[in-house]
């Protein structure tokens, strides 16, 4: 029987790692994800997880150790956040290029300067071009589930790409919620033992990994990463379906909530989706036609699903905890790209909010709704809006 335990998302991530039985975990502590490797080191010390726990001197070393371990042919896991993920940046490209199915749990946190340990999505969003798959959890249960799913997708022969699972700093990492821990046997059946497809050490079959590619080959190598990302779209659907069959919890690349007959659809990710769902419930009682679309899978970007979603709404209001300078938020760019050649498309309004742990309140959402309603009415509106900005101190 699955156990139900009250725990933080950090702990849920550690439990997911334990259930996945990685052979190597290399991690460096950083707020807010420190508890993940702490808890894993406990599991290892107590003999509950048979793995090598490598204490390293930086995140750059943590991910490098993971690349080495994964290239040698074992399941590998690490956790980090913010500056730690940024320090991993160059190795993230290497992990993806070498097609190593490493999984990282990321406590989504703002980037310096100024130093800020609280939540936004700038850290993982900034790594969107590394080739890594990206999942975003709405709550602690999703943090656990998506890590298991991430392993399964990453290790699929058609994909072979590393994956990161983001869960919001403090809002999830340090908040306790009941989480169902699935049975080990069920997880074993779901994930199976890791059998490396291409990356392994075998003295009888020597290979060279991390090769130099001349101009004659580099482009093709990069294309295979592109192709693997494309393949991942189908594989993710399959794995989501299998997960639902085995564990009873349903996941979709874009989860829709009350979007039927909605005129305005709020699009968001992570824990903010929970807040917005509450807000939409409230509005629906007042007869306002609004819905929510939660992006669970951000890379590969669910272009087809976005196009389907766009058919349902007159206005897409993107709520984003990240900034892409001169553009707005990253989603604004992604949604624009997905819809640019569609004959009929909704108006897209972008909202930047909740940066660096700023609370997103119903009042903030009212402000966003007001602007979205202006857009709906055909009035003039700003494409990019900073919500909850304290203009008086600027």
């Amino acid at each position: 029987m699955p156990i139900r335990k009250v725990m933080k998302a950090n702990e849920a991530a550690a439990w997911a790692a334990k259930l996945a039985k990685p052979k190597v975990i290399a991690a460096f502590p950083i707020t807010p994800s420190t508890l993940v490797p702490e808890k894993i080191s406990e599991f290892v010390a107590d003999g509950e997880l048979d793995a090598e726990f490598i204490k390293v001197e930086s995140e750059h070393s943590a991910i490098s150790a993971c690349v080495g371990a994964s290239a040698a042919g074992v399941r590998t896991f690490t956790a980090t956040a913010s500056q730690g993920l940024a320090l991993m940046h160059e190795i993230l490209f290497i992990a993806a290029g070498m097609r190593l199915p490493i999984v990282i749990a990321v406590g989504n946190r703002a980037l310096s300067a100024p130093i800020n340990i609280w939540n936004d999505w700038q850290d993982t969003i900034s790594e969107r071009d590394t080739g890594w798959l990206q999942f975003y959890a709405e709550n602690n249960q999703e943090a656990l589930d998506l890590i298991l799913i991430a392993f399964k997708v990453a290790e699929d022969e058609r994909v072979l790409l590393p994956a990161m699972v983001g869960f919001d700093a403090f809002i999830l990492t340090h908040t306790v919620e009941p989480v169902e821990i699935p049975d080990q046997e069920l997880v074993d059946e779901f994930l199976g033992e890791y059998v490396p497809k291409h990356a392994y050490l075998d003295p009888s079959k020597p290979i060279t990994q991390g090769t130099l590619a001349f101009p004659a080959h580099y482009m093709e190598a990069r294309y295979t990463v592109w192709e693997a990302n494309e393949n991942a779209k189908k594989v993710i659907d399959e794995v989501f379906a299998e997960f639902e069959k085995r564990f009873g919890r349903k996941y979709q690349k874009i989860e829709e909530y009350r979007t039927d007959d909605a005129e305005i659809i709020f699009v968001t990710m992570g824990s903010l989706a929970g807040t917005v769902k509450e807000y939409v419930d409230m509005l629906r009682e007042k007869g306002v036609k609004v819905g929510v679309a939660k992006i669970t899978v951000y890379r590969p970007f669910p272009t087809e699903e976005v196009r389907e979603l766009a058919k349902k709404a007159k206005v897409l209001a993107l709520l984003e905890k990240n900034v892409t300078f001169s553009i707005g938020g990253a989603l604004f760019q992604d949604f624009s790209r997905a819809l640019i050649n569609e004959k009929e498309k909704p108006v897209i309004v972008d909202f930047i909010l909740g940066l660096g742990g700023r609370d997103v309140t119903f009042k903030d959402l009212d402000e966003a709704l007001g602007i979205a309603q202006k857009a709906l009415a055909g009035e003039e509106f700003d494409e990019v809006n900073w919500i909850g900005l304290r203009k008086e101190i600027l």
Binding site: G97, L160, H198, P206, I207, F214, A216, H217, A221, T224
Partner: protein, 105 residues
């Protein structure tokens, strides 16, 4: 032009080495550096004038690659698969038998 002394080995590895891209660009055959050509970034290539050559072998000695070997009559032969176009051979040649010319592909 005389054939590279590595020709047989190169052909053997080329045959074994699948031209298909492997996941993670893994080199599946050890020693594939023998077949992977390093002459692709060349801008200038050495042009050899056999009539001027005095067979002093300075080009052969100084080539850092080494992409110059000697034919049956001991004249230098340039292996453009590996020549990086550094121009050292042309610089060392005492009789100006080698000139660097811009390579147009």
């Amino acid at each position: 032009m005389a054939e590279s002394p590595f020709k047989a080995e190169i052909e053997r590895v080329q045959k074994e080495y699948s031209e298909k891209m492997t996941p993670g660009a893994i080199a599946v055959i050890p020693g594939s550096s023998v077949v992977n050509k390093t002459g692709s970034w060349r801008v200038f290539m050495p042009e050899f004038n056999r009539d001027k050559c005095v067979r002093c072998y300075l080009c052969y000695i100084y080539c850092p690659e080494p992409a110059i070997y000697l034919d049956e009559e001991n004249y230098p032969v340039f292996d453009y698969d590996y020549c990086k176009g550094c121009g050292i051979c042309a610089n060392e040649c005492p009789v100006d038998a080698i000139t660097m010319v811009r390579e147009v592909k």
